[in-house]
């Protein structure tokens, strides 16, 4: 059983951290969110059907944990320790080289309903269908958010 959990953590840790970081924009909170997602997965009583379901479940749960934390009264009263350092896109640790950090920073500043589809589509290379399953939305909604998010990004840059 322990082997199964360590395999799971190794497999998804980096990807979940990046998704959590894109929402929390600071390393410590992103790590907390990922840890909480793994804990919830271990406590999950409903059976996870397959690998794709497992992945989608973990991403969805991580995003929900991040959004719940951001909305909480406690979190809104806190101040980041070193905002200028923590906000940089370099802390997201993508597994490939991104030459345009300015665009990534702008993506991270987008409203949440644009940020998550755009981040998952462009930076994690998910398809529109996969994003629709992860975010529990229709494919048409995801397409619209990608288009409008890109328009907003262009205005911001």
């Amino acid at each position: 059983m322990e082997q199964k959990w360590s395999y799971l953590v190794e497999e998804y840790r980096a990807m979940l951290y990046r998704i959590a970081f894109s929402n929390m924009k600071n390393r410590a909170d992103a790590e907390d969110a990922v840890q909480e997602a793994f804990l919830r997965y271990m406590k999950e009583e409903k059976p996870i059907q397959n690998k794709e379901h497992e992945k989608a479940w973990l991403i969805r749960t991580t995003i929900h944990i991040c959004l719940d934390t951001l909305k909480s009264g406690w979190y809104q009263k806190t101040v980041p320790w070193n905002e200028s350092f923590e906000n940089t896109a370099k802390n997201i640790y993508l597994p490939y080289q991104v030459r345009d950090d300015e665009t990534l920073e702008a993506v991270l500043r987008l409203p949440v309903h644009y940020r998550n589809p755009i981040y998952l589509f462009y930076y994690e290379d998910y398809t529109i269908h996969e994003i629709a399953v992860i975010l529990n939305e229709k494919e048409g909604t995801i397409k619209t958010r990608l288009r409008r998010g890109r328009e907003e990004l262009k205005r911001n840059l």
Partner: protein, 170 residues
Amino acid sequence: MGIQEVQNQSQTPAYQKKKKAGRAEGFQESFLQNLKNRDRAKHAGTAVEKEGKQAAADTQAGVKVQADKVGMGRVGVSPGIRVTAAATQETLQAVEVRHMSYEESDHVRIAVKEGYTLKGKREEGGDARVYVEAKYEDGRVEAYQVDMAKVTGQTTHVIEQFALETMEEA
């Protein structure tokens, strides 16, 4: 009610006849319009074909201006034209999509503002070829194989430029 009166009632009222006649005229008009549209489409198709042949001729002569107009610069506008344009250029060949991940790629370009991503990998084997996979905002994925022996350093075509960058990274 007499027999005569019943017969009169069973006849189609005048306004309905008028409506039916109107429909028939409308159908004829739309049929004619369809024929005209088909003619126009035929002519347009011939024009596109001519343009494609012209682009191929230009490419062979070393002038790639026409081909670049219908290349990656028009991302998301007209997929048919883009593929045709790619096929007309000797350097690019449309191939089957392999769904390569970012980790597997030698080089990645994420163009969020333009609405596309490119992944490139140098092909194994004797010939210098680069496999390029393009994903667009509307969900389409297209793949090309670039013959690097025919790509010049001064190319302005986005996929060719990207293939050159991939060769440097690999």
